[in-house]
């Protein structure tokens, strides 16, 4: 069953087109990674999904209801965590969590305590004293303490430390195992890779790629840096090798993941002294994609 479905969703601010015919589909029980650089339109899409903004063209449906018209009904089953959590400086974290749980509907007292414990939040402190990470924890505790069917998470871990990031990932996996759906907006590729079943990439307001991680992986290249005893011959003729740079006996180049095996075999004939590989960054992914589009930008 489709939980979120947008149909040619377009949002213009005056002459500027923030979103251009975005089609996005999140199915029940799946974690959908929504990735793209800052300013690509992730937050605008989420604002439209939450009914905070009205689409210029196209439509967005959640649970089969219209995101704009039926916002209040939809929100009974949604938990949302903004990327930049702004709280009331003179309320305590605990007060804000209670308020949030109450505003969504009935909350679960024991879940609230459990989440506060897991995220190691001190709920008796005023929000003005919280760091960015702690404010994010307030929103995360309120979200995961509620019994939502859909979680919309907009860059929820940008201020969390690695330990808390792991707690967050556990919470997402637990929610998924309970059959919940999750829209996770992020630009941290490793997090998306770990958690998401399907991924959509947005850039300059357009969805440029969407599919399972396996589908997308064909786009990714690994960066290799190799130093050999003998100079490598015939590297440029191999399939799946790009952007070769040579410095003395050190070769750095990019490799399509599917040809990795044959390339490493070839290179090893020359006596490997040093071999470093770097996973593809989101930037690599984008760069690769634009090369593929061929001068579209």
């Amino acid at each position: 069953m489709t939980i979120i479905k947008t149909n040619n969703l377009t949002k213009k601010f005056g002459k500027f087109t923030a979103l251009n015919q975005v089609n996005l589909e999140v199915n029940e029980g799946e974690v959908y990674g929504f990735i793209g650089p800052n300013g690509a339109g992730k937050s605008t899409t989420i604002r439209l999904l939450l009914g905070m903004m009205k689409a210029t063209e196209g439509e967005a449906k959640i649970f089969g209801l219209d995101a704009w018209k039926d916002a209040v009904d939809i929100h009974k089953r949604i938990a949302y965590v903004p990327g930049d959590v702004h709280l009331w400086p003179n309320l305590t974290g605990g007060e804000v969590i209670d308020l949030f749980i109450k505003l969504r509907g009935d909350g679960n007292k024991s879940r609230r305590e459990e989440m506060i414990e897991r995220f190691k939040l001190d709920p008796s402190k005023k929000c003005r004293t919280y760091s960015k990470g702690n404010r994010q924890k307030v929103a995360l505790v309120a979200a995961f303490a509620s019994d939502a069917d859909l979680y919309i998470l907009d860059e929820p871990t940008s201020g969390l430390d690695p330990l808390m990031e792991r707690v967050f990932q556990e919470c997402v996996i637990a929610a998924k195992n309970d059959g919940k759906s999750i829209l996770l907006s992020s630009h941290i590729l490793s997090e998306v890779e770990k958690l998401c079943d399907r991924v959509g990439i947005i850039r300059e307001g357009k969805m440029i790629e969407t599919g399972t991680l396996g589908d997308l992986r064909h786009l990714t290249r690994t960066n290799l840096l190799v130093e050999t005893k003998l100079p490598i011959i015939g590297l440029s003729e191999l399939k799946g090798v790009y952007s070769i740079e040579v410095k003395n006996r050190t070769f750095s180049f990019q490799v399509d993941s599917e040809y990795l095996d044959s390339i490493v075999r070839h290179v090893s004939q020359f006596g490997i002294v040093r071999l470093e590989s770097a996973p593809p960054t989101l930037e690599d992914l984008f760069m690769r994609h634009y090369e593929g589009v061929g001068g579209a930008f």
């Binding site: 009205k54 929100h75 309320l91 305590t92 605990g94 007060e95 308020l99 109450k102 505003l103 008796s124």
Partner: protein, 534 residues
């Protein structure tokens, strides 16, 4: 060793002065201008001893003494005595506020923001920042004292001699230095800037109240307040230096305490432990309207007290109104005499206009909080949950309606209770009540306008304040400045019948109410349709 504690204090003083190269001159110029212009306007307004003595008569009641302070000069109310009696206390409070804000800013606020940490990482003494701040504020106050003192003397007003003028200036400076010192102590005690400023202002209010009680009843009590000590210098009457010296001495003692406390404490630590807040929300807080109330609680309470005091301060002069106005042509221009009504009753409509306009400010602030919340990305927390836009806007709307009524009621209660105490032939509460409440439709029109703009053109909603200022100028000062009638008719306040002098006219009031309702409906409808930015 002790020298190391103050290393580079001089560098920091220069650094602080350059940071405040605009702020300090603006404070000094503003304070000095107010002092000079009041002094010369007093001498122009009241040219004969008889006129001054008439004013002195109006001051002979406990309410006035509580408000402006006790004076030994009422028997011979010279220009100087009048100046010291009516202006010294309020100017000193303004100087105290200047010192509190300057010291708090450069001590606890900078410590909280992390600038002190940066400074302290350099080879700078542990006490350098505090002593530099105190020195800077001290220099500011000495400068203010000298300019005020010599300036008042140079104005050449009769009875304002050199010694009196110097004590006047020194009194202001000493008060400023005293409050700088007490703020420096509070900056050590409290561990955040809100606490520092809050404690300092609470001390200022307490000092004012202790002096008020002391001046009315028990003179010894006044000596327990720095403001009471200041009054006891009896400037331009007896010219005592000893209270000034006492204030400076106390300030030096307080500064030593502050330095000691600063030397023994950790960075970012305070001596008053911050108590943990509530871990759970009260049931009131857990609704949109409860949240809206909670985040405006402190402000609304302050406004409520302010409105009560505003009413009371107007009420306390009503008893002497008749004698007061006889000599003042200015006020005659404001109030056109009407047969069959006392001057006090004729004064009512103008008083009510002013009070209604003051009460409009907190009312509009409530509505504009909604826009402020959107700007701070707080409304998304409501709208992304099961809260409709109408309910969000409605929370602020309902509170603003209640505030419009409540503030007006408090002002009337203050006015009436004070007037009963000072008038022989008091005006009934119901007369005052209806004369005030008749302004509600005008206030609701202002609410309607702000709701409409927040819904339709949020970026232009500040226009409401412009319109409000226009209303204030044309309706309040219109009579005085001889504006044509149509100008005040452009403001909702210009259509309100002047009870109790005029008959009640339901027509304009009902039309205003209808206009308000239409504006509000359109505002809600458009708010439901537009993009919410945060």
């Amino acid at each position: 060793m002790s020298k190391k504690l103050y290393r580079h204090t001089g560098v920091l003083v220069r650094f602080l002065l350059s940071q405040n190269r605009l702020r300090i001159p603006i404070w000094i110029i503003a304070l000095v201008l107010i002092t000079f212009s009041t002094a010369s306007s007093f001498s122009e307004l009241y040219q004969t001893p008889e006129e001054r003595q008439a004013i002195a008569q109006t001051m002979l009641n406990p309410a006035m003494t509580a408000m402006v302070g006790y004076s030994n000069g009422l028997d011979n109310y010279t220009n100087g005595a009048m100046m010291a009696h009516q202006m010294l206390l309020f100017t000193a409070i303004a100087v105290a506020i200047m010192s509190i804000l300057l010291v708090a800013r450069h001590t606890r606020t900078e410590e909280e923001d992390g600038q002190i940490e940066m400074i302290r990482s350099f080879p700078v003494g542990r006490l350098s920042n505090l002593s530099a701040t105190v020195l800077m504020v001290g220099v500011t106050n000495v400068l203010l004292a000298l300019v005020t003192g010599f300036g008042l003397y140079i104005l050449g007003i009769e009875s304002m001699d050199l010694e009196g003028s110097l004590i006047y200036g020194a009194g202001l400076g000493a008060t400023g230095i005293f409050f700088a010192a007490i703020t420096a102590v509070f900056a050590q005690l409290s561990e955040n800037s809100r606490g520092t400023i809050g404690l300092s202002f609470a001390f200022l209010v307490l000092a004012y109240l202790i002096r008020a009680v002391g001046d009315v009843g028990n003179e010894t009590l006044s000596w327990f307040s720095p403001l009471g000590i200041l009054i006891n210098a009896e400037v331009y009457v007896h010219n005592y230096w000893s209270p000034i010296i006492l204030l400076v001495g106390l300030a030096i003692l307080l500064i030593s305490i502050a330095l000691y406390l600063n030397a023994i404490r950790d960075l970012d630590a305070g001596f008053i432990p911050s108590k943990p807040g509530r871990t759970n929300a009260s049931s009131l807080l857990q609704t949109p309207i409860g949240l809206a109330l909670r985040i405006q609680r402190t402000g609304l309470i302050a406004w409520a007290i302010g409105m009560l005091l505003l009413g009371a301060s107007y009420g306390s002069v009503l008893g002497d109104l008749e004698s007061f106005f006889k000599d003042v042509e200015l006020m005659e221009a404001l109030i056109k005499p009407v047969e069959g009504f006392t001057l006090t009753e004729q004064f009512m409509p103008m008083l009510m206009t002013v009070m209604a306009m003051f009460c409009t400010v907190p009312t509009l602030l409530v509505v504009f909080k909604l826009k402020g919340e959107e700007k701070k990305n707080h409304t998304e927390h409501l709208l992304s949950r099961v809260v409709s836009r109408s309910r969000t806007m409605g929370s602020y709307f309902i509170i603003s309606i209640i505030v419009s009524f409540g503030m007006l009621l408090l002002a009337v209660v203050g006015l009436w209770s004070a007037s009963v105490a000072v008038m022989e032939d008091a005006i009934s509460f119901s007369t005052m009540f209806s004369a005030a409440m008749v302004y509600l439709p005008a206030m609701w029109t202002m609410i309607g306008l702000s709701i409409l703009l927040i819904g339709l053109f949020p970026q232009f909603s500040g226009f409401t304040w412009l319109y409000f200022v226009y209303s204030f100028v044309v309706v309040y000062l219109g009579g005085l400045l001889q504006f044509p009638d149509w100008m005040s008719k452009l403001s909702p306040y210009g259509h309100i019948p002047h009870l109790p002098v005029e008959e009640m006219d339901f027509m304009p009031v009902s039309i205003l109410a209808i206009i308000a309702i239409v504006l509000i409906i359109v505002g809600f409808a458009t708010y439901n349709r537009r993009d919410i930015l945060g």
